[in-house]
Amino acid sequence: MPSRIPPLAITAYTATSALGRGRDAHAAALHARRSGLRANDFTREPLPCAIGRVDGVEAAALPPAQAGHDSRNNRLAWLGLGADGFLDAARACIERHGAGRVALVVGTSTASIGATEQAYRELDGGRFPAPLREPMLHTPHSLAAFLQAALGTRGPCLTVATACSSSAKIFAKAERLLRLGVADAAVLAGVDTLCGSVLFGFNALELVAPEPCRPFDAERRGLSIGEAAGFALLEREGAADAPRLLGYGESSDAYHMSTPHPEGLGARRALADALARAGVSPREVDYVNLHGTATPKNDAVEAAVIGEVFDASTRVSATKGWTGHTLGAAGILESVLTLLAMEHAFVPGCLNAVMPDPACSASFAFDNEPRAICVALSNSFGFGGNNCTLAFGRAH
């Protein structure tokens, strides 16, 4: 078991998703139980499914100095940076600590692969069209390279790309950078965007529902893909009311590339390690934001793990009925939703579950519930059996 770690302050955070731009839009949609999912209007080839598309991405032009980084993913990043004054907060943080002491830790699974797909549609004599020949745009690091150019950080700058746990794991990477003195602050970013690869790829795996996803419904039929940008600032010290990162657990299933371990062994290990680093017991956990993709297998395994670890005093739910599965951005988006649940003292009950799966324990919330939340967890599980659980709390 890992040892307890000192908490870190989350001094700014924001998200942009199908629910809108910024924390207020997200809190309002959660309260009103208003989903951001819509019928697929993104793919050229018809694909009957629901998607969590962000309005206004196409119009969010990058600053002229960064025009070479242009892609849907980087446009969404730029749109998201502007919400809740995050860009100003990040620049003030860089000013405070010095650019060389601020790390940039980015999580993404799609990066700008949408731009690569476009280049393949527009091949010119077997080659990429000239405007799409910027090499960095077509590598997993394209989001980080754009954000580093836009923000001016000079500390370590890396991309974590572990599918759907990517932007949960960035909290763990940043914590170690701070604890071991390599950086004094970290800008965390998770951005994934709709593209052919994920929509048709998950469709090929028969994991996409024809209707808006229904996490933990007895008759759930799969996931809905979404897109999102989430950001957080991590520092050693922060205001008394700033939420804290208490712990994290990272693990692997050692089972299969695209199917979770049937007994959730990797998920259990991530959960146990997060609790150990946070120094809290399962009974002290008020709320768990689940991975809850609404695929039959994911939800069955996760419900079984929750039922064994937590009693009914811990409330749990999945929020993908609101946003869709935002893949590489899910970790940080759902962290932001978890922090909003803490801030607004309520549990957003699973949306779209018409008939709750009888396998769900008494911990599951299917309606919104008022609830003071002092300690909360967020689960993120990805392809390759890559798991991460984060623990959040208050200063004391």
Binding site: A99, Y120, V160, R269
Partner: protein, 256 residues
């Protein structure tokens, strides 16, 4: 910050001309240069035969060097947290998926899709070795080796446990490969540890610095780390800087 001090317990290497660290070590000690020699496939004998047939070349490369490093360190691979670093990811798989998407998107292969994630090598590796510890796949442009080495060092120091680190990129063909300069298959892996024991082969002191290293950004990330690998091959003390992205570097002291 104080420099981060870690020990190397084992080294893995694969390139078409030097299929293991023993041959690379001899060649590098003699001052030989890397050459792009042929299209041999890494054996990746740790993978089950079925997985080996299904796995893309990039996965074979990553698993080959990771397996070598664990064997050299006499560490059971299933127990080590692992950090996999690649600048470009699986270019051959992305080429195949994007080609299909451009013509018949409903025909994308499910296997190709799950192979296309950046952590596919880490996924195959953890399944093959039964590893339930943390696994990470990262990228940082030409600095991917330095970023992976620093992350692995942080994990070993934070957890006081040995950690596997592997950096690799594969050659590929097609329009994407041309743009991202995916020309060479080459990988290097270390088992790092915080606390020295009889396995210790070398000591590194690492420090991130906000000063860039002049380098062509299309350089293979392992080629960018060749000064470190040469110093290790010679077994000599050295002080060098590896590129860490566009704006910074990793200062590495190799202690004799």
């Amino acid at each position: 910050m104080d420099a981060l001090r870690v020990h190397i317990e084992g080294i893995g290497w694969w390139s078409p001309q030097w299929p293991d660290w023993t041959s690379a070590e001899q060649a590098l000690r003699a001052g030989a240069d890397l050459a792009d020699a042929g299209a041999a496939k890494p054996p990746a004998s740790l993978l089950a035969p079925g997985e080996r047939r299904r796995a893309p070349d990039l996965v074979l490369l990553a698993c080959e060097i990771a397996g070598q490093a664990c064997a050299a360190a006499a560490r059971p691979p299933g127990e080590l947290p692992c950090v996999f670093a690649s600048m470009r990811g699986d270019v051959a798989t992305a080429d195949a998926v994007c080609t299909t998407l451009a013509s018949a998107p409903l025909e994308v292969s499910p296997t190709r899709f799950h192979n296309s994630v950046h952590n596919a090598p880490a996924g195959y590796w953890t399944v093959a070795t039964g590893c339930r510890a943390a696994s990470t796949a990262l990228a940082a442009g030409v600095g991917s080796f330095a970023a992976g080495l620093l992350e692995a060092a942080l994990e070993t120091l934070a957890g006081r446990q040995p950690v596997l680190f592997a950096a690799y990129d594969s050659a590929a063909a097609g329009p994407l490969a041309e743009v991202v300069h995916a020309q060479a298959s080459l990988g290097a892996a270390f088992v790092l540890n915080a606390d020295p024991d009889e396995r210790k082969r070398a000591v590194l002191r690492l420090r991130h610095e906000p000063t860039p290293v002049e380098i062509d950004p299309a350089t293979h990330p392992v080629t960018a780390a060749l000064p470190l690998l040469r110093a290790l091959a010679r077994g000599e003390a050295a002080e060098l800087r590896l590129p860490y992205g566009t704006h910074s570097s990793l200062r590495v002291e190799v202690l004799a």
